[in-house]
């Protein structure tokens, strides 16, 4: 099998409101697949369904060929998630958080002893591993969270708005590592973003608005199709309005796009 995610007519309603409306797509192994859309478009709701936190109202979703509703535990052991909002235990130390995570994912003590310093070094928190997480700044928490998501070497990584609160150096550093993992272990990535520059990293992008996929293709194909030079222009044409985003992030994007 060469698909890691298979989604058919996935729908989620909250009372009368339809957050995700009959969405279908598939993600290939080793692919970086992006959900691009404004806040409230249904990106996080889709992630929550794919990572078994939320039951779909209707439709089907398979992660690594396992049904997210019927075999949630098999899905859970395949994935790593970096949530948009913090999800650390701030009454424990950074190292406790990571070790705890390793144990929850059934890593052996030996693997934990090896991996914990490795990911702490990656996010440059090794020196501060004994500190309580509540003493951490927002950016440090974010980095720790990313370290934790990578700790158990998942086959599929969910990144929900991954660059929120990260400085450019760290961002480059982390992407470098993620891309290395993709090369070495065939890691697949499903990410959501409303930053256009970040979307450029993706192999394919689904533009989502009001819970529906309005278009899906590679960034270059999308730009060619709509005769635009930027994804922002594409988005504007497709949805008829502008997406909110921060400016001044192009340098790391150029790095990302280097051959």
């Amino acid at each position: 099998m060469d698909t890691i995610i298979e989604v058919k007519n996935l729908t989620r309603k909250f009372n009368a409101f339809t957050a995700v409306d009959s969405v279908s797509f598939s993600v290939k192994k080793g692919e970086i697949f992006g959900f691009l859309g404004p806040n409230g478009a249904g990106k996080t709701t889709t992630i929550n369904m794919l990572c078994t936190l939320l039951r779909p109202t209707s439709g089907e979703a398979f992660v690594s060929c396992c049904d997210v509703v019927k075999e949630p535990n098999r899905v859970r052991s395949e994935i790593g998630i970096i949530f948009q909002d913090p999800s650390l235990d701030d009454r424990l130390t950074a190292e406790d958080n990571l070790r705890f995570h390793g144990y929850l994912y059934h890593l052996s003590s030996r693997d934990i002893d090896r991996r914990v310093p490795e990911v702490l070094n990656l996010v440059e928190l090794y020196d501060r591993r004994k500190e309580f997480v509540r003493k951490y700044s927002g950016g440090m928490k974010r980095r720790l969270e990313i370290a934790r998501g990578l700790l158990h070497q998942p086959k599929l990584l969910f990144l929900d708005e991954p660059t929120l609160g990260l400085d450019p150096q760290t961002r480059v550093h982390i992407w470098e590592y993620i891309l290395k993992m993709r090369q070495e272990h065939g890691l697949s990535i499903f990410m959501t973003t409303h930053y256009m520059q970040e979307a450029e990293v993706c192999d394919r992008i689904a533009i989502i608005d009001h819970g529906k996929i309005v278009d899906l293709d590679s960034p270059s194909a999308l730009k060619a199709k709509y005769g635009e030079t930027s994804l922002e222009g594409v988005f504007l044409k497709v949805t008829g309005r502008e997406i909110r985003q921060q400016a001044g992030e192009s340098s790391w994007v150029q790095w990302m796009r280097r051959p």
């Binding site: 859970r76 052991s77 909002d85 999800s87 701030d90 705890f100 995570h101 144990y103 929850l104 059934h106």
Partner: protein, 249 residues
Amino acid sequence: MGDLWAIYILWLRDLKRYWYDKPRILASLGQPLLFLFVLGTALSPSFKGPMNINFSEFIFPGIITMTVLFTSIFSAISIVWDREFGFLKEVLVAPISRWSIVVGKALGGSTVAVIQGCLMLALAPLVGVKLTPLIVVSTVLGMFLIALAVSALGIVIAARMKEMEGFQMVVNFLIMPLFFLSGALFPLDRLPEWLAVLTRLDPLTYGVDLLRGFMLKINAFPMILNFSVIVGFCLVMMAIAVFEFNLAE
């Protein structure tokens, strides 16, 4: 095996948090100490207990129950904090079963509660309650059953409570009545009808009576009844907690 491991890990987390938070260990003993020494001493002259037991001795098992009650309920309700601060998501997406989350949490909270209870129990000589190894072992066991039952109740509440705002309500309308009606602070044999009925509806009453039986050898109910009510309550609450966690999305 995987589930037992997950239970152990979640249990360990609660114990670590407890151990790191030493000020809380002492702070949460303040209230029971006030009840025991201030109320106990003040009301002793006007109290006539069975077998010449003074008031401090009489309420000692009740105060231990109180310590266990408050510690386990706070511990279980911390699930609401975990939800608010996002940590619950980390646990919910981990490849572990829902029931092991509930059991791990209940065992973690109970263990912490029993440790707090033991700190109170260590004051027995000051109160004049005699401890033998058998009394200590049976009391610890009794504390653990009460703690487990209350933790399970707390998890049931936490599964429904989405924000901390509801917390004060729970304390005022559930925890305080559970405590006051349990006979922790008064004998159950001289009550007006309405109060007698209410005390018998409170599951904690049987927990207090269980500990009183172990420590002072005085009982309002047969020990087997006390034991059955607590164990039964615990099992029912545990089942509801697991059911609610499976349901929650």
